[in-house]
């Protein structure tokens, strides 16, 4: 079968000599899914925009892009517009900004239809509704009249897919189609994509940084680094037999939701800037297998057996010795604090939340604001953290985990319930005690750029908490802290913008540690970082905890990261805790249907398992926290509720479940009337979804 799309030696150069793409070649056939994997700045998105001819005009593109044998590069606009949206469609990452805000979704879909098909307005509108129905949008005829901002993220992405398949394309390019979405929604969207592919029989180019997403979707995978493919081959080969150290490191550095605890394999250093690439292999500076020859010349992408290509001079050797990332990359040894051997009941409690409630008034109107409802952001949650322990608070966006964290950090009396930090009740603090207590309670933020004042040098940033608490001589302490987090003492004079994301996050950690706190609140500390950087920061956090005897409250949406870092986990849904317990218990024997769905939705970087796995897909979107369902909040989407008898359901509708310790389990409780433990992520043969 002849390929639909053939890309040959594609290069893209931006003004200033920035080589974003440096020679990419690939082919996609009908019905085939090609995964392009790479970290930010690897050139993977630019490649696809170049194929579509959508790059800014000042970009210089060379090479060849052939669709059905016809060259697209240099084609004039009149012919190109007949290809775009017809033969090749594209699905973009952020579905909010990808729709024009001032037109209805239906209009934009109908427009896509009418550009390429000679149909009337009414017929196009009807087709738009059919497309929305096809991608699983409920009440499509009504929803077609909605504007983009009235759709949730998942629905927008569905609509985006509907638009992309409106003209039966031969090729779909998906640029990070699920990155902006929550994991249960991601699972839905990937399902829709599969449906769309079956419907159109199109080839798919799937661009992502998430090795889990690709594992389940792709037939072949291309790994990109610094604007070039470094390895390419069938999906199983890439995942099970990587032959390039970068791919090996990447696979080894991903925290896995089914993986063992313990240190991750980090890749040291940062990807090179496209402005000054090293002369040799661009990965050489970070590569543990580097030899002198690596730095002399950039290795070309050469075929090694069958359909695979690798750009590494030592690939034969890797193949011969059958090396893996774990063999090649040094794994740090992380010591555990002595306190971790003390039984939980005997340790002191550092944080205790009791029935915490935080409601916001929902206001309407621009001039005279009036209250039209109440947002139940946090609606009665309780948990505690003991010395030397990490509790993870996980949940999807809108579940109330950030509000919980803010309530703790503010150290103010809560609306209802109690917050007790290190034995001190936040409602009984005076100004002085509150300030003193802040020494022991510090925070690390999610976005390492926004968390550091761009106008202050790093040494001032780290010294800020010290000075606020009356320390005069801060220089020595700042140097010590910089070294503690793995930076150099001389970095203090530079400004935050001179550091990479991972380094900035280390600065944020240093600042949080300056006052030697006992409890550290981590607000999604690694979610903004690339995979290869993430592992290093996770290891650092784990190491610091052991060395300094810290306790962590770790807020995250990534369950795989949580598994590695946390001792206990609390799963939140719509302002309530659904399940709470030790990580091992909750991950291996989840009892709440929501936890089960959440865990089953996480893609694993393992093609074999992804192919055989059955997902528990949730219906629809998160209900509005301003109007939560009666009784059990999860019942509207609960797969178990759907299977219950009418009689059994009344209990779910009428009675709100509380977290109840499960029988025969130590530290494990679930807020479900019909809690039942099942396994969803182990790779057992008899996978069944209850």
């Amino acid at each position: 079968m002849s390929p639909i799309l053939e890309v040959n030696d594609l290069t893209v150069t931006f003004p200033g000599g920035i080589q974003a793409v440096r020679g990419v070649s690939y082919q996609v056939s009908r019905g085939e899914v090609l995964g392009i994997v790479g970290e930010s700045g690897s050139g993977k998105s630019v490649t696809s925009l170049a194929v579509m001819g959508l790059l800014p005009r000042n970009a210089v593109v060379s090479g060849s892009v052939k669709l059905h044998g016809k060259e697209l590069l240099g084609m004039d606009e009149g012919d190109l517009v007949k290809v775009r949206g017809k033969a090749i469609s594209m699905i973009f990452q952020d579905p909010l900004s990808a729709f024009t805000p001032v037109y209805t979704i239906g209009n934009q879909l109908a427009e896509a239809v009418r550009i390429h098909q000679k149909v009337g307005k009414d017929a196009a509108a009807k087709k738009a509704v059919e497309l929305l129905d096809l991608v699983g949008i409920p009440h499509p005829a009504i929803r077609a009249k909605s504007f983009p901002h009235e759709f949730s993220g998942g629905m927008r992405q569905r609509a985006m897919i509907a638009m992309a398949i409106a003209n039966d394309p031969d090729l779909l390019i998906c640029d990070e189609p699920t990155t902006a979405l929550d994991v249960t929604i991601q699972a839905q969207i990937l399902e829709v994509l599969k449906t769309a592919q079956q419907e159109t029989g199109a080839g798919i180019v799937m661009i992502t940084h998430d090795l889990g997403v690709v594992a389940g979707m792709a037939d072949r995978v291309m790994v990109m680094y610094a604007g070039k493919p470094v390895e390419e081959g069938a999906v199983d080969d890439i995942y099970y037999r990587p032959r390039m150290p970068y791919t090996m490191g990447l696979l080894a550095s991903i925290p896995r939701v089914d993986g063992a605890e313990g240190p991750l394999v980090p890749i040291e250093g940062n990807p090179p800037s496209p402005k000054n690439l090293p002369t040799g292999c661009p990965f050489a500076p970070r590569c543990p297998m580097r030899v002198d020859a690596c730095e002399e010349e950039e290795p070309p992408l050469v075929a090694i057996g069958g359909d695979r290509h690798v750009a590494c001079i030592r690939s034969r050797e890797i193949e011969h010795k059958n090396l893996t990332g774990q063999d090649v990359f040094p794994t740090p040894v992380i010591e555990h604090a002595p306190i971790e051997r003390v039984p939980r009941e005997q340790r002191t409690t550092v944080l205790e939340l009791e029935n915490l409630i935080r409601h916001y008034p929902l206001m309407k109107g621009a001039v005279f604001k009036r209250r039209v409802g109440t947002v139940h952001a946090v609606d009665g949650i309780s948990f505690d953290i003991v010395e030397g322990e990490t509790l993870a608070l996980v949940g999807e966006s809108g579940c109330g985990k950030t509000t919980t964290l803010q309530q703790i950090m503010q150290l103010q009396p809560p609306q209802d319930g109690r917050i007790v930090v290190l034995g001190k009740d936040s409602s009984k603090l005076d100004k002085g005690t509150r300030k003193a207590l802040r020494r022991d309670l510090q925070i690390v933020f999610q976005d390492p750029m926004a968390a550091l004042d761009p106008r202050m040098p790093v040494s001032d940033i780290i010294a800020e908490p010290l000075r606020a608490h009356g320390h005069k001589d801060t220089d020595a302490k700042v140097k010590e802290l910089l070294e503690l987090v793995g930076l150099s003492a001389t970095d203090g004079d530079r400004y935050p913008q001179h550091f990479s994301g991972g380094q900035r996050q280390r600065i944020g950690i240093a600042r949080a540690l300056a006052l030697e706190p006992k409890l550290l609140v981590l607000d999604e500390p690694v979610s903004a970082l690339d995979v290869s950087i993430q592992a290093g920061v996770i290891n650092l956090l784990e190491d610091l905890k052991g060395r300094l005897g810290l306790s962590y409250l770790f807020v995250a949406h990534d369950l795989a990261v949580v598994r590695h870092l946390a001792d206990r986990v609390a799963v939140m849904y719509l302002g309530r805790i659904a399940e709470l317990g030790s990580v091992d218990r909750v991950y291996d024997h989840p009892a709440h249907p929501y936890t089960q769905a959440l865990l089953s939705a996480i893609p694993l970087p393992d093609p074999e398992m992804e192919r055989t796995r059955k997902r528990i897909l949730l219906e629809g979107d998160l209900p509005s926290p301003a109007d939560p369902p009666s009784g059990c909040r999860f019942r509207t989407r609960c797969p178990k509720f759907a299977r219950l008898s009418e009689h059994e359901r009344t209990r779910c509708v009428e009675e709100e479940p509380v977290v109840i310790r499960l029988a025969n389990a130590g530290d494990h409780g679930a807020a479900c009337h019909y809690a039942e433990e099942i396994e969803v992520i182990t790779a057992s043969d008899d996978q069944e979804e209850q």
Binding site: L49, M52, L54, E77, G78, V81, K82, V83, R84, G85, K86, S89, M90, F92, D94, S97, A98, F99, T100, P101, V102, Y103, T104, E111, A112, I115, H116, F147, H149, E150, M163, N167, K364, G365, A366, V367, F368
Partner: protein
Amino acid sequence: MGRYLLRRLAMNVVLVAIAASLAYMLAATTMNPRASYEGRQPPVPVEVIDRTLDNYNLNDKTPVLERYVRWASGVVTGDFGSKWNGGSVGEEMGRRIGVSLRLLFIGTIVGFALGVALGAYSAVRQYKLSDRVIGVGSFVVMAIPVFVMATMLAIATYNLNRGLGFTLIEYTGEYNPNVTGFWPLLFNRLNHLILPTISLSLGAIAFYSRIQRNMMLDVLGQDFVRTAMAKGLRRRTALFRHALRTALIPSATYFAFAFGTMFVGATFTEKIFAWHGMGAWLVDSIQQNDVNSVAAVALFTAACILIAAFISDLLVAALDPRVRVS
């Protein structure tokens, strides 16, 4: 949405009332109509002056609040009080209001439409010669105050007419009273409109073109324009169908703000081209210590600006569904 706009309208009426009242108070306390009667030859007796001023509600011996109450209760019933010499402010306003509104209306429409068009064109042709010419042009125009612009235009026209030997473009007054007949009069009026319109709208054109260009450039870089092209629209079509309307929203919000500037500009053009409008009246009545006339102009201005603000709200709501729903 309708209720929201109604509330907004009510709010604006309150603001007009407050603004006009404040303006009256200011005028009544700073101006001295008595001066117009004192120092006359032969001297007018103080009692006569007091009586006259009392009649006109202009006597500074009466407490301001008392004068204000009398003025305000008049205004509510449509009586705007007396001019300093006893003439009716309401009648004078009736004569002048149309003159000003015509100028303001045409100036605003021309300024907005041309400015937005030029700005959009300039953005689409970014860095090309035409973009640069428009950019430099609007920059220079924005540095020229209306009164300099109007005077320059008047001088130029004077010299042009002299050079031609006949009056091609009129530069004083609103129309020539000697012209009769419908078509000749209309033509004559239009001819008289040319210079005031140019001097009034040039500044607005420059202002809106800069805003619109910047907004367009902001929008051009956004994902939805890329999506529109990925659907198979030509760049030009994508820009006009998807970028222009979105980029119009911020320009529409500036509408109200720019109207105040427009009113001040109109004051100068009216004075310089000898039109008898509200702006010219403001200047004259301040020089004549004519408190009630000043208050009337202030009321008119506040009302105009808030109507412009209201139209601006309507425009934004019409353009932007995100505002409409809330």
